[in-house]
Symmetry: D2
Subunit: 492 residues, 4 copies
Amino acid sequence: MTLKTREDYLTSLRNMKKRIFLFGEEIENYVDHPIIRPSINALAMTYELSHQEQYQNLMTEKSRLSGNFVNRFTHLFQNNDDLVNKIKMQRVLGQKTGCCFQRCVGMDAFSAIDIVTNKMDKDLGTDYNGKFRKYLLWVQEEDLVVDGAMTDPKGDRQLSPSEQLDPDMYLRIVDENDNGLVIRGAKLHQTGAINSHEILVMPTRALKENEKEYAVVCAVPGDAEGIIYVYGRQTSDSRKLEGGEIDVGNFQFGGQEAVVIFEDVFVPWEKVFMNGEVEYTGLLVETFAGYHRVSYGGCKTGMGDVLIGAVQAVSKYQGTEQASHIKDKIVEMVHLNETLYAGGIAASSEGEPTDSGTQIVNMMLANVCKLNITRFPYEIARLAQDIAGGLMVTMPSEKDFEHPEVGPLLKKYLVGADNYPTEFRQRMLRLIENLTLGTGAVAYLAESMHGAGSPMAQRIMLRRLADLDQKEDMAKQIANIPNENQDNLKPD
Amino acid sequence: MTLKTREDYLTSLRNMKKRIFLFGEEIENYVDHPIIRPSINALAMTYELSHQEQYQNLMTEKSRLSGNFVNRFTHLFQNNDDLVNKIKMQRVLGQKTGCCFQRCVGMDAFSAIDIVTNKMDKDLGTDYNGKFRKYLLWVQEEDLVVDGAMTDPKGDRQLSPSEQLDPDMYLRIVDENDNGLVIRGAKLHQTGAINSHEILVMPTRALKENEKEYAVVCAVPGDAEGIIYVYGRQTSDSRKLEGGEIDVGNFQFGGQEAVVIFEDVFVPWEKVFMNGEVEYTGLLVETFAGYHRVSYGGCKTGMGDVLIGAVQAVSKYQGTEQASHIKDKIVEMVHLNETLYAGGIAASSEGEPTDSGTQIVNMMLANVCKLNITRFPYEIARLAQDIAGGLMVTMPSEKDFEHPEVGPLLKKYLVGADNYPTEFRQRMLRLIENLTLGTGAVAYLAESMHGAGSPMAQRIMLRRLADLDQKEDMAKQIANIPNENQDNLKPD
Amino acid sequence: MTLKTREDYLTSLRNMKKRIFLFGEEIENYVDHPIIRPSINALAMTYELSHQEQYQNLMTEKSRLSGNFVNRFTHLFQNNDDLVNKIKMQRVLGQKTGCCFQRCVGMDAFSAIDIVTNKMDKDLGTDYNGKFRKYLLWVQEEDLVVDGAMTDPKGDRQLSPSEQLDPDMYLRIVDENDNGLVIRGAKLHQTGAINSHEILVMPTRALKENEKEYAVVCAVPGDAEGIIYVYGRQTSDSRKLEGGEIDVGNFQFGGQEAVVIFEDVFVPWEKVFMNGEVEYTGLLVETFAGYHRVSYGGCKTGMGDVLIGAVQAVSKYQGTEQASHIKDKIVEMVHLNETLYAGGIAASSEGEPTDSGTQIVNMMLANVCKLNITRFPYEIARLAQDIAGGLMVTMPSEKDFEHPEVGPLLKKYLVGADNYPTEFRQRMLRLIENLTLGTGAVAYLAESMHGAGSPMAQRIMLRRLADLDQKEDMAKQIANIPNENQDNLKPD
Amino acid sequence: MTLKTREDYLTSLRNMKKRIFLFGEEIENYVDHPIIRPSINALAMTYELSHQEQYQNLMTEKSRLSGNFVNRFTHLFQNNDDLVNKIKMQRVLGQKTGCCFQRCVGMDAFSAIDIVTNKMDKDLGTDYNGKFRKYLLWVQEEDLVVDGAMTDPKGDRQLSPSEQLDPDMYLRIVDENDNGLVIRGAKLHQTGAINSHEILVMPTRALKENEKEYAVVCAVPGDAEGIIYVYGRQTSDSRKLEGGEIDVGNFQFGGQEAVVIFEDVFVPWEKVFMNGEVEYTGLLVETFAGYHRVSYGGCKTGMGDVLIGAVQAVSKYQGTEQASHIKDKIVEMVHLNETLYAGGIAASSEGEPTDSGTQIVNMMLANVCKLNITRFPYEIARLAQDIAGGLMVTMPSEKDFEHPEVGPLLKKYLVGADNYPTEFRQRMLRLIENLTLGTGAVAYLAESMHGAGSPMAQRIMLRRLADLDQKEDMAKQIANIPNENQDNLKPD
């Protein structure tokens, strides 16, 4: 069975015993927990759509490893069509869930690890790539969710891993024996970690020669002994505990981040794909980041579509749909959103083959794509708040609307234009609140800022990739300045 | 007693019986309700500082009505120093509370009503101004909080009050007798309404000849019979119910908005300051808006100071304080924040006297000030999220940090640079979350957008005030184009 | 001979007798005129590179009409690779010339006319497409430059062609006989018109039923009787007459726009490709605009590369290369420039086939691409002026640098860091001046704004293409609002 | 005579023999030179308006030194009204001339030197302030133009004055005797230098102990022996030599910058106001910069008014005046322009007294004002180009419009809407071209960027003045973080 159904997925999660903490308590049944469940629903959509005919082209692809059709989230990118289809799939999922669906990090990590382990094997004679592809074949056949775990706590940002006061500030190998390794540390901001079957650990930065213990790539089951998950809180998260639906904004779906703590977790050798080769850590981080920075050109534009649709609806409910400034602001939202999409498409359609046979995105355009992602969603959200009006943040709770005395009064006074029911307005304003200030804003804004690297990380890459010397030569050619070696220049 | 203390204020609130609904329940002791109390604390700061020597120049002023020193929030602006000191007072209060302190609407309404009633009396021979000043003298002597209630539900935005399906979409006079008026309707987005002693009702727009019933300015006690308050929800509001302090972000202070419903409320004639004079409604709305748009140049810059301070602190805790891009972003935040302040100062220092003796702000600069307020706080917040890092939205709840097993692990892995305690980082990140995504963002972002009029309202005023003909003449003078009447022009 | 050389091209121009006016005089030898020649050089680069092996893949393509390799500027786009290669070719030419190379309008017009005439023939049974392809085959075989002439004077913008006081405000058919048509009117802003062999006339807007006389697509030789060219002036254009080289900034290359007046010009039937079919004018304008809006994602990014290279060079000459804020501004310039490129690539790689077999760009992304072009070059130019420093606009003329007394003083005081010769600094600053304030700015800024349609034209297309209903449905789905017909809705 | 007339001023210039080079030639009659004269006209407006009753309040002020009314350009700022009136005067002059009127640098230098020499005298027992006030009294009585000369060539920006390869890269004292000093060096970007009676030399940066020779403040006549002026070129400057008027855009007025070379110029002791006191150079530079950065909030908003008026006029000529997007863009231009003005007003109205009795602007707001000046004029210019349309850069020369054959054709085809004459359109488009790409853009854009210090200089000041510690304390107070000394902190 290479394509799990939504139900298969839920069942598989129920079969995993994970240690999860949330609001100071250990959670037993995490699959049905009202705060966690929406994030599972979002991820489950990646299974659900893979069985809908309309989306099969986007959601599945023929595996290079098995020849079987697999969920695209487990597929190694083979060509630019693969890369472009990834973006389109992500946009659809963003549209369907209005949030982060949490399965991209693992997908992007697969191709990155494939490229790097292939290079390691060629350079060093190791067999990491063989082991990794065997692992990935299993992931494909079982249609698993794999969490790519990269971000370490980092402690004092001015210090490298080996310089930290506490050596555990970056996850590291603390022991090794005939059967495998033992790792210790933590990974922060782990998107979808709790909803995953496996965790694929990777280093978070380029490492130096004396930091071999930090150079580890390996996979462990999500319920391996020693792993502790602490659920991250999101703005307005506890509305999900109130029993209502409207005030949640996006009742069905949501994102999820967790702190994942590795308390001396054992990893068997067959799931170890890097062990001390510090000189490949930079390449791995950059390659993964390249893929993942492009992914945001898909998912965030899908979320943007939902937000644009929501303000369009609200403008009808409020009777402002035909105002020229409202129309103009919606056009601006569309423009910014599609600019983000263009970044994702361009970086993908300009991908290039690598030695492993896996296709890499265009790295310059990948970073350009992401850097815009750190800006435009904020402006789109600002425009959405402009159009939504103040009621979005002053509207009473849905329980007030149900109260026998004040409920009818609220419905009377907050009724929409053209007899649109008050509830439509409530629901749509709460959705906009969700996306611009609530749990959805975690994905749409803060994650856009920091996911796949904060803006400064993209700027550093842009500087490296820009080939300023070549541009300088172009300018010299036109300005008719000799391009000789500077040492030969004589001052006037 | 012209200057109440904080305790006096709290006691006075306790003495008022108001009907308040929140989360579907009627609240008995609203003064001590954990969701409401922070907003009372914020307002109480306007009393507290009036007794601190350091702030007495800013917080109090000699009343023109009585010659006594009164709280500046009850003072009629007499000159540009008054207007400028208002801004400085508001900035200090923003800095002290990190939120909206809710007493400005009433203050700005006093001077607006004074100007307009004075003009009405001169034009029409009425005695509204005399009644109003007598009322205001009482407000000053009792040091009361007065909520200026302007924003009606508006129903279908394309229709004027008289065209609405339901005539109550704008508050209106439904009856009148020898003793006074009876009003019905609702006012939305009422900042600090529940924390006020009095409600000062005003129309929300210029009215037409056939809309006299909507042209009413009057005052009623906050606990008048027939008034119902429904508390507006804010992002993450229910964190205040969790029993902790850290996750609230700003535990002590907060803003408040409510829907205020007037179910046939009686108003005695001595508290009626307009009754059907539709031709003065436009002037009143504009004059009030002028004052209030400038106010944001004070309070929001104070909140901006807090946010800048918070990211500066976080950059220390994370070891990024010395990174040049961090420093540059903080400079940008300061620059934008001070540009907002400059707008407030300029509109105030260029104020002008009116016939009533009350000083009006420069209307052009007032609208310019506010229009920037609808933009820059969003960019300041975006930069704050950039500097804060992803942990702001992925950090576990404070209860997890207290858990015997995972608490120590979280403290270990999330410790700050230079041994800054993890708790410092928690607290500061939660404050930034509060200001950019939580309850504080309601005031810092959404209220900046819509309070005192949405951006389009400012743009309309800018167009009216810009004197484009004069500018066109300047250009013609320089381009040497004759400035004759167009009718005389002959085509080439 | 399907690929002319640069010399062939110059000779072919010399053989054409055109009536050209410039600075109030009729020009005899336009090929060697110092103001006109740089624009011919720029266009000649499209011939020159087609013979350089390094660029042959980009510059030439196998014609669908003849099977021969032709200059890509005469090629009908067959697939997305063709569309993407166009962008890459344009970027290279922008890099080589630092200006507009003037051959794109015709290229983009070919494919647009092919699509529309094909549709007309299918719908109407005409033979426009056959005639057009025969014409284009000749263009390909002769490797001609064809000016696409679209923009009419328009007179009063509020009036349609038939409503204008003067019916000639839009080019129109004034006579017709057995041999062909006679046209009258003018086309403004004609890029490269004087450097072209042929002029391909098209309507500038969608026309109404009663405006058949304006619905004409036809080709005429550039030296047809009745055509008058009046050369447009550019900022600092007369520096080219001063005899020096440095102050010109870009001495070799430049753009060109002209007013082209058609004084009753005869067109034989075989060169008429539309004659009164008003219902196809809208499609033609949009299709052409679609192609051409994407073109700017190529050429302007090439110019951006030159400008970035120029400021990078100047920062060396001035000793500011290592300043972190300078590096950061250059990164920003690169980011914006590559965002524009991403728009061009995305709109091209997402192209789609049409019935004629010619590939059309993605229209949504095409308009998005162009709308960014109306913004980012201005910000790139602003950053360039920031880095360049004030000397760019205060530096004495090159003749002063050659003066026996003050020349040595200027060279002494304006010498660069690290002994970079003063002349390098002069040349590079003049190039930046050219691109941000001079003749180059005409192409880099004003043409970016208005070429292929002013920004409002793109916004109108974005609104039409955005499918807001679909987005609204997505939002409703997530907000759980029934998507039934509104008529069935009941108010609460 | 304390108030010269325009004619007095012109005569006084004619009486000065200056060595001026322009386009490689030494100019004899500079007052009537067609390139130079517009800049003299602009400066002359400061005399002309001082005699017009309407402007006397703005243009003149009672001197503290003599009690006489003097031209405000020679006045020491005594209070905030003085500072605010300066801004208003500058705005009027910007409106009247549409360019830089060149008399502000000297004005701002007077008050800066007064403050610093007063402090030097108090600290060091020198008599610089007495000498300076005597000098200034003479300037006031004679109503002289004094050029404040600050900016040195700087050579390699990474090196301080004493580290440069050529010690003359910063102007310095090269000799001294009983009668005075001898100075050598150059000052770049000297606005209005040639139009001035006196040159007031100041150091350009804070100097170190071993750089005493560079720490010189002194005045010399503009025609002192050894001074050479080399006129800076501006975009499209030579249009002024063509004999026409229209294409110049702003025919009457213009700015002027020159390189001023000091070839061992003698300065008598009575005109030396600093001689080696390096420790006061930083204060002088900052104080001058503070004043001057605010000045731009006046003059540039006046230029902005002209540009807004020009696009408003053009929109009428083109029939686009009523389009909602055109109106919206003009509102945006007004908004940005008034934001700049607000910066100037706020920094001035918040000025503070100094020990010398001269009032200093608010330094924080001064830098904020200028930093916006480096941004908004560029966006205003971009919007102006949007509204103006492409014709601004493709319109033939005015001589073509006068040609017997093509002139009538151009007038026919380029006629405005509503029979506005073609010439109106020509003139207004040329004015917009002047202000956004031509000689006017030198003042409106490049000078806005670099005058009174490039943007990085303002950012450095903002960082210094922001008091981040205080803001951090505000945040800590609200976040309830103890504000104890960090050394006492214990990690968790």
